[in-house]
Structures are given as structure tokens and as C-alpha cells.
Symmetry: C2
Subunit: 260 residues, 2 copies
């Protein structure tokens, strides 16, 4: 099932997406909801951020090739994480499918995409075993962990390298039925595949990250966990169109524009 958060005629709601039809619902998608009887054509609605997370978790370095290539680019030695320690991103940076990533005037040319699988938590959970970890998962969406590498190297925190407004596109919708083993991520730049990897080929699995994180942190409905990326990105320029496709989920599409 696909959940879409959308706006039409000034009202924002969740709907179930079937083909190109949005079946509008009311209530709480994580607990009790019902259909309103209204439907819309997908082309007629504005797609919104799938969910504003309470806590915005991010795995960071979670694919071996990405760690090596990232280290090479900033001139340090690769530091493969020894343990699954979750990190964070900031809510202000989120934008929806179709919205522009705005590169600040003072950013360098080193602006990169990172196509990521995003886990949406659906149930309050603490102390989950790896075997039970996926029981708290509501569904999956796609994220683009846009990064300014010069700031990432120079700054003490990620506040502007990764959390500048618009640097966290997420969407287009939430897919609840996913076979993790079959997912494949393709990142296209202006229509051409530039990065491609088996999505679940992670250093630490989703189950392991949920298990470890939930030993200390209660997960809540609407929390998101971005699972990291593989490979690397070319430098992105004004006008570039970046599409992150994860097979079985969809395609997250955003144009990059440089602030005037």
C-alpha cells in the first residue's frame, strides 16, 4: 500500500495511492483512519513531505564503497564504522518531491547527492531484538541527503553542510509492502544513471540499527531513519535534475538551483 501526503484546494491530507488515483483519508495513518469518499488524480495534487518526523535519525556511513570514496574526496583515510551508532539530521531542511534544492550563495561547487532508503517508524518501540525490529516499521520512502563537502570537512557540526534549508528532500510517498532484499537504488543526474547499488547491501542492516538504537532511545510513530548511501556524486550545478529511484518504492525528483 502507498500512503501519500498531499495538498489540494488548500487542504493537506493523507491518501492511499492506487495507480494514478489518490483515495483521500482522514484520521491518523499510524492508528485509526478511514476513507473520506473523495478521490483525486495524482497529477492534480501537490505532493507534501511524507511525514514531519519527531526524531530525525540518520545512519550516516553505512555502505563500504561510500566510506572509501568519501574519505578519498576529503583527503582522509577511510574510517569504516565498527558499530551501528545512529546520527541525526534536522527537520528544517526537509522538502518534498518536486521542490527545489537551493544551494546557498556562499556554498562551494562541492554539492553532492546521497540517495537513501528511509525507514518510517509506525509504532512506539523500545528494546527490540533484531528478529522483532521490523515490527515497528510502518513503511519506506526515499531521501536525498544533500551535502556540501567543503563545509562538511571544515565545520565542527553538520549544521550547514547537511542541514541547510532544502538539503533533505524526502518522498514521494510511503510504500508499506517492501521486499528489502530486492530493492535497488539508481540515482540519475539529468536523466542518466550515475550511481547504482543494491539498496540493502548495508554495512549494518535496518534490523541491527533499530535493535541498537532502541536499546537506548524509544522510537515513536513518524520518526524516520535514513539508512545511508553507497557510491559517490559528481558536483551538482544550477539547473541539475536529480532523481533517486528505489525500485518498488518510487522516484524522488528534485531540481538543484543556486541562490541568486
Amino acid at each position: 500500500m502507498r500512503w501519500i501526503n498531499f495538498t489540494t484546494a488548500g487542504t493537506t491530507a493523507y491518501g492511499i495511492l492506487e495507480g494514478d488515483t489518490v483515495i483521500e483519508t482522514r484520521g491518523d495513518i499510524f492508528s485509526i483512519w478511514e476513507k473520506t469518499g473523495r478521490t483525486h488524480r495524482l497529477a492534480d495534487v501537490k505532493i507534501e513531505i511524507p511525514v514531519m518526523p519527531r526524531t530525525f535519525y540518520c545512519a550516516g556511513l553505512n555502505y563500504v564503497a561510500h566510506v572509501k570514496e568519501a574519505a578519498e574526496k576529503v583527503g582522509t583515510s577511510p574510517n569504516i564504522p565498527a558499530r551501528a551508532e545512529i546520527g541525526y539530521r534536522a527537520q528544517n531542511a526537509l522538502i518534498a518531491h518536486g521542490e527545489d534544492v537551493v544551494i546557498p550563495r556562499d556554498a562551494t561547487e562541492k554539492v553532492h547527492y546521497e540517495g537513501e532508503l528511509v525507514v518510517i517508524i509506525g509504532k512506539k518501540a523500545k528494546n527490540l531484538s533484531e528478529a522483532d525490529a521490523l515490527s515497528c516499521v510502518f513503511g519506506y520512502t526515499i531521501g536525498n541527503d544533500v551535502s556540501e563537502r567543503t563545509w562538511q570537512k571544515a565545520d565542527r557540526t553538520f549544521f550547514r553542510s547537511k542541514n541547510t534549508d532544502t538539503f533533505k528532500p524526502m518522498g514521494p510517498w510511503i510504500e508499506t509492502e517492501v521486499d528489502l532484499a530486492k530493492l535497488h537504488t539508481n540515482v540519475r543526474l539529468n536523466g542518466e544513471i550515475r550511481t547504482s547499488f543494491p539498496t540493502n547491501d548495508m554495512l549494518f542492516s535496518i534490523q541491527h540499527f533499530i535493535h541498537v538504537t532502541s536499546q537506548y532511545c524509544t522510537l515513536h510513530p513518524g520518526d524516520v531513519m535514513w539508512m545511508g548511501t553507497d557510491g559517490s556524486s559528481p558536483d551538482l550545478k544550477h539547473g541539475d535534475l536529480v532523481e533517486v529511484e528505489i525500485t518498488g518504492i518510487g522516484t524522488l525528483r528534485n531540481r538543484f538551483v543556486r541562490e541568486a
Copy 2:
């Protein structure tokens, strides 16, 4: 004016605190609200977290003595930040005044308090100058940035050292009229002052942090910015009562208990 978020008879609401009387309100404290006509005695209500932040900002190292003492304790050289780069904490860890900080079973004895001034953002804001920075501030409360130093040193992220459930007490209420220059922070352990410093004696001022952060990140009503701490903390044990007092705002009181 003091805003208090409270629960009574199963209902959570905001009220205005005058002396020991809570004057109940309805609406949005950041825009349009009104009094309901109901009042409660402070002693009769459960105090809640003042606000669940959308983005949870934290200045981290922002007082010179703390940076030096913290470095000494983990055996590294002091690294005084050269620029005001904001960091983050996680929403799951927040608890209210009066609730217990639960030290996990596997934590070491190196559990410390950090008494901090907390800025509550009241208006959407971007690109604020230092001169205009405080125009987006709704008020101030108090935070205790509880930290497990062994994990803080060993881990790649702060997920358990600083963001374990209950490690972020915040409250007891929001004070909107504050003279920053006059504030003084006293942290008491079991009734005895152990840390004391002029609250506004920061490396980078609130105005400067808001100015720099807002160049890249839009601030939203309900966002919080924790401003860091001075001095250091003894190791905290099961049963310890920690009170963070900031003169003119109030006292945040939480007992520390070790998980059974």
C-alpha cells in the same frame, strides 16, 4: 510572563503561571490564544515538557571553563570552538521537570549534569542580523544536558551518550521576560551548590548563534536552542537530586535513578 504546559484530569493545556495559580488557556501560544476561565493550583497539576521542538538545536561547547575541564576529564587537549556552529539533540530524550533521569544498566559511573539556558523560538525566521536576533525569541526555559562521558568519548555519535531516553530534562516553564545580563545559573546536587556561573558569559552569544544558524536554517515556532554549560559535574549516583536554577526563570528538578 510565565507559560506552563500542564496536565490535569487527563487534559494537557498551556496556562499562564501567576504566583501559584495556573490560568488555563486554549489556542496556540505562538499566535492566537485566550483564557478559558479555568484556574488551577500549581501544586495540583502535572508539569509537562514546555514544548516538543520541531528542531532541537544545541550549542554544545559554549563556555571556556567547561571546554577546558571537559577536555581534561577525557584526556584530550581543549578545543575551543572558533565559530558558532550549532549542534543537535534528540526529541526522544526529553522529560519534564520532576520526572526521573534513568541511567541505563550498562552506563558507567561517568554520568554528568550540564545546566543550560534554553531559548524557545516563537516566530519563523531566516537571515536575522545579530541586532534583530532576539526578535524571534518567545522566551526561555532550563535544560539539563545529561551526558554519559565514557560513551561520549568512545562513540562516533551522541546517540546514547546524550540522547538516551530521559537524558534531556527541560522546564519547568517558559519565562518570556528575561534580562540576559542578570541571569545566573546554580546547579545543586542534593541541595548543595556544586556549579555556579553567570549564564550569559558565553563564548558565542545567543544573538550570534541565532544570526549564524538562521543564515542557513529557517527557525520555526517551538524550536529550542540549548546554549551550553559552564564548569563540570561530579559523577551522579542512584538517588541523586539535581536542581538547575537560573535566577529569574526558575528551577528544573530531576532525580537520577539507575535502571534496576
